[in-house]
């Protein structure tokens, strides 16, 4: 490798940055829907309804027990065979939301279980329904406690979004691969740059997570 290889940077950077925009956008949306799915499934797994419990447990085990890559291929390549065609970005978003939802549901479940039973009882004794008690009393406390693991989940998702390059989502790694192919080289500067772009996002995020952890440890 020659030092002059790095002169390729100005040429590739604009494309990489547009890839970064896609990475951030799709991660953001996946985190949001993943959180939504995770909360609902987490609650369902605590339910006394057997059917609900069994269905959601199967969901969580299947998703956690199979590679994300397989899930991505199922959504993008297998679903069209039963007539469901999704564009790459949507396929990526759906897959990541469903995947993240399974992991988040376990975190949410643990978060709810960490809240003293007396909280639910106090809320119910005031005449609030189960749903109201969850929404106003238990969940706000649970979410405070699970901010650190949720932050880590966010970071994982951000990094894993690079997998979407295999279904042609125009994110960072997709552009990186394309450029290395087109230029027949420059792998080091291009992939190193990709890595740095992820690091730029994940480092501040993990700092926030660590601060949240410290604050919780102090019990404040």
């Amino acid at each position: 490798m020659r030092l002059s290889d790095w002169l390729v940077l100005p040429e590739i950077l604009p494309l990489m940055l547009s890839g970064l925009k896609v990475t951030v956008t799709i991660t953001f949306f996946s985190v949001f829907t993943g959180l939504l799915i995770g909360t609902i499934v987490g609650l369902a797994r605590l339910s006394r309804n057997r059917l609900l419990y069994i269905l959601t447990t199967i969901y969580v085990e299947v998703i956690r027990g199979t590679p994300l890559m397989v899930q991505l291929f199922m959504t993008y390549y297998a679903l069209p065979e039963i007539g469901i065609h999704l564009p790459p970005m949507i396929a990526g978003w759906v897959t990541f939301s469903v995947n993240s939802g399974a992991y988040v549901s376990e975190v949410v479940r643990a978060g709810i279980q960490s809240i003293d039973k007396g909280q639910m009882e106090a809320a119910r004794s005031l005449g609030m329904s189960w749903g109201q008690s969850m929404r106003y009393v238990v969940l706000p406390q649970a979410f405070r406690n699970i901010m650190p693991p949720l932050g880590n989940e966010f970071i994982m998702l951000l990094k894993d979004s690079s997998l979407m390059s295999v279904i042609a989502v125009p994110e960072v790694m997709r552009y990186a691969g394309l450029m290395v192919g087109r230029k027949g080289g420059y792998a080091l500067p291009i992939y190193a740059t990709s890595g740095l772009l992820y690091l730029m996002l994940t480092l501040p995020l993990s700092m926030v997570v660590r601060r949240a952890e410290r604050r919780l440890a102090k019990g404040d």
Partner: protein
């Protein structure tokens, strides 16, 4: 206003309540005493259905609790409960703790709920703590807020589950004083407590429970001075 008819409660194999029958009238202050494990708390928790009785019948103002057509949330609005461990909502200010249920359940407007909360805080002697958070309060103060929170729903009966057992001795008095004032106002109260002084002074009737049954009951003077049942005698001789 509260009727218990042959109430049984099992926790799996454990037979905790063995046929409890009693009646509590409006304005009455009933104190339940007895050794730990005698089922006092379980009985209290059955009255607002935090525990489901396995057998028997519980009626609040004529409404049967363990009945599929009964809206239990509706019943609980009228049956307040104060817990041993306070159970204030730690993520909310004192005022929000008190106004939450009136707003969400009774549909009371924010301003009105707040006004009521301030009145109740004055009543329990904590007017200066309206914006404080539970963790900034002492145990006695937290319990007084919990009483105010229960009162905010304007319940027809208040259940107290060992309200002073988790408190340091110097804070017990301030909570009992609030409870006394409530009793003087005519509030119907059922109190599970080890505070015999309170039972004697405020209670209209004392129930002695042992091994899941009401063994003896009577007015405090009678029960404390001349207990009839040997088990009551044994218990009282240990604690008085």
């Amino acid at each position: 206003m509260i009727e218990l008819n042959n109430v049984h409660k099992y926790f799996d194999q454990l037979h905790v309540l063995k046929g409890v029958t009693n009646r509590v009238h409006r304005g009455e202050v009933v104190v339940i005493i007895g050794p730990s494990g005698s089922g006092k708390s379980t009985l209290l928790r059955c009255i607002n259905y935090l525990e489901e009785p396995t057998e028997g019948e519980i009626r609040v103002d004529g409404v049967k609790l363990n009945h599929s057509g009964t809206n239990i949330n509706r019943v609980r609005q009228d049956v307040g409960m104060v817990f041993q461990s306070f159970n204030l909502f730690p993520h909310m200010s004192v005022t929000d703790n008190i106004t939450l249920a009136p707003k969400k359940v009774r549909g009371v407007a924010e301003a009105e709920a707040k006004e009521t909360a301030l009145e109740l805080l004055a009543k329990v002697g904590l007017s200066d703590k309206a914006t404080a958070y539970p963790r900034q309060l002492s145990g006695g103060q937290q319990q007084r807020v919990a009483i105010a929170r229960a009162l905010a729903m304007r319940p027809r009966v208040l259940l107290f589950d060992e309200p002073t057992s988790a408190l340091d001795p110097e804070m017990i008095g301030e909570v009992l004083d609030v409870m006394k004032a409530l009793a003087d106002d005519g509030m119907t109260m059922i109190v599970v407590s080890h505070e015999m002084g309170f039972a004697r002074e405020v209670g209209d009737r004392v129930l002695f429970m042992d091994e899941g049954q009401i063994v003896e009951e009577g007015c405090p003077e009678e029960l404390f001075s001349r207990p009839q049942n040997p088990r009551t005698q044994a218990f009282l001789s240990k604690i008085l």
